[in-house]
């Protein structure tokens, strides 16, 4: 299929086409920013199961996917949302209740693994984690790894520096590349071919996209190709990496989208309250996720006033003076 085509489609179709049961997935964003929440909720609505998920610190998105029962294996650096909301409650209870298989990394290790995948090399070296349990304790056994062609044989490998102390390192850790089947990110602006312009921090989105076999981009605005191409140096992702483009306003809600809207402290703290109780969380899912047909219907459940409260101030890119207690 041409990579030089109009890739605009509906979120429903994009998820149906590219997110399959058991596939390996990663999502963009970081804790309370630019999680592709519309896509996450749609994955939950479509009751995708047995996803193998790669995450650095994708707070809200990962917690919902775990809570919705979509994930069975998780490689992760951090399950939390910062101080903005009590941290990733469904993630923690899923581990405590042994509902998912998991393996821990650090944020840099996960970023390097995506970077290696994007570069097309089997590993990258780092000096992070030597002497820690992150290197010693493997969540996936050697046996499980050897059986699954989509997993590297080892979690990590420590080698002596073959350049004899060069750059001050006696040893390094090699972390293996990740190449997900599908990566989903939410950006501010994209054109219909998939070229993206991310505003604010890009986190690890760019490498996650380039490492991935297929990519869904959801965006606040689909903009004219010529407009984006006036400043090509600001387009971090060229269309050649992208499979589908979906226009979803507030597509990161309740996480923030810089220059468009802030995170919603009300929604996040309410959700974490629900998340602490299985029955309440079930009700929450029924109302906000399964009970609506799409993201717009979820937004309709939010007070208009609150959506106005979180809308971004032009100068700063966030909602100045927002009540975040």
């Amino acid at each position: 299929m041409s990579i030089n085509r109009d890739k605009v489609m509906t979120l429903k179709d994009a998820i149906k086409t590219y997110v399959t049961d058991g596939c390996h997935i990663s999502i963009g964003g970081f804790t309370v920013s630019r999680n592709p929440m519309a896509a996450v909720f749609e994955i939950m609505r479509q009751r995708k199961r047995n996803l193998h998920c790669y995450a650095h610190s994708n707070g809200t998105g990962i917690d919902e996917l775990v809570g919705g029962g979509c994930i069975s294996k998780l490689e992760i650096a951090y399950g939390g949302n910062g101080k903005a909301a009590p941290t990733c409650i469904r993630f923690k209870s899923a581990i405590q209740n042994r509902e998912i298989l998991f393996e821990d990394y650090s944020n840099y290790q996960m970023s390097l693994r995506f970077h290696a995948g994007a570069m097309g090399v089997p590993f990258i070296a780092t000096r992070s984690g030597l002497g820690t349990d992150i290197l010693k304790k493997w969540g996936f056994s050697e046996q499980m790894r050897s059986k699954d062609p989509k997993l590297p044989d080892k979690k990590i490998e420590i080698i002596d520096n073959p350049f004899n102390g060069w750059a001050g390192a006696s040893k390094v850790v090699l972390v293996p590349a990740i190449n997900p089947d599908i990566t989903i990110i939410h950006v501010q602006k994209a054109d219909k071919y998939g070229t993206c312009r991310i505003e604010g921090l890009n986190f690890a989105d760019v490498d996650q996209v380039k490492a991935s076999r297929n990519v869904i981009v959801t965006c606040e605005e689909i903009v004219d190709t010529d407009t984006l191409r006036e400043k090509p140096e600001y387009n971090q992702i060229p269309f050649i990496h992208v499979s589908a483009v979906v226009h979803v306003q507030y597509g990161a809600y309740p996480s923030a989208c810089y220059n468009y809207y802030d995170y919603d402290p009300k929604y996040l703290s309410q959700t974490s309250k629900f998340a602490k109780d299985d029955r309440l969380y079930e009700e929450y899912l029924k109302k906000f996720v399964y009970g609506v047909k799409d993201h717009q219907e979820l937004l309709n459940l939010i007070e208009k006033e609150q959506l106005k409260n979180i809308s971004a101030d032009k100068r700063t890119g966030y909602a100045t003076g927002l009540d975040r207690r």
Binding site: R34, G59, A77, L130, G317
Partner: protein
């Protein structure tokens, strides 16, 4: 002037930050401490975040390191890869001081922020490393915020997430880590440093009204208290800046 324990902890940490330090910041109290240092004793220090924001303007207190508030007015907004490279890089990394928190710390300053109990069947699961393991692996100086409770200062960590001095002198180097390691553990009772030779934690400061013995009573392992002094209370100036400039809406403090 009256002050809260949290305010005292913040000021104790801020005092450890030197002018020209590049300060790696997490959320919460560590961010407030870094902001306080910049406004009080280290005006040329630079605050940066693992998410890739360098020298953010911080007009409002961010509630997460990916909070849009860290993106506004920064010198550069990039991503995780660039941010951690700043610390692993031997030229810039040497200027960085990290501020971390954890669920457990042992006498060598190793940290656990992963779990209590068995890794595979934990009684309590925490968030995990995030960037903590990376920071602790790379940078020459680290401040650690802790609540002083026995179970948080165990003889043996349930899981070693972020390296301190591992099992003592030379251990970091043997493991292949960059030299350096934790500088201070700042708690609600006092401040611990690490002995230059043994790399073991010792009590440097106890807070006004706290006895060294109280501190020992709140740790599983013992520490040398012979060098301990009473900490100086926050000055009026320090408190004023903390309350009026850094966190006027009391989001953290």
């Amino acid at each position: 002037m009256e002050y809260t324990l949290k305010e005292l902890m913040t000021i104790m940490a801020a005092r450890e930050i030197q002018d020209d330090d590049i300060v790696f910041c997490g959320t919460g109290i560590s961010m407030v401490a870094a902001m306080a240092a910049k406004h009080i004793n280290a005006p040329n220090s630079i605050i940066f975040f693992e998410t890739g924001a360098i020298d953010s303007r911080l007009e409002e207190v961010p509630m997460a390191v990916a909070d849009p508030r860290v993106m506004f007015g920064a010198a550069s907004n990039s991503g995780l890869l660039e941010s951690f490279a700043t610390m692993q890089n031997q030229i810039t990394g040497g200027r960085v001081i990290g501020i971390l928190g954890a669920a457990q710390v042992d006498k060598y300053g190793n940290l656990n922020s992963t779990c209590i109990g068995d890794y595979f069947q934990p009684q309590i699961r925490f968030s995990g490393s995030g960037g903590a393991c990376d920071v602790a692996s790379f940078v020459p100086r680290c401040l650690i915020f802790m609540q002083h409770e026995k179970r948080k200062f165990p003889i043996m960590l349930d899981y070693l997430t972020s390296p301190g001095y591992l099992d003592g002198p030379g251990a970091r180097e043997n493991a292949g880590l960059m030299s350096g390691g934790p500088t201070a553990v700042i708690t609600n009772l006092g401040v611990m440093y690490f002995d230059h030779d043994t790399k073991e934690m010792y009590l440097a400061y106890y807070y006004p009204g706290v006895s060294p013995q109280t501190i020992l009573d709140n740790m599983e392992f013992g520490v040398d208290i012979s060098r301990a002094k009473e900490a100086e209370s926050p000055t009026e100036h320090e408190l004023k800046i903390l309350r009026e400039t850094v966190d006027p809406h009391k989001l953290i403090l």
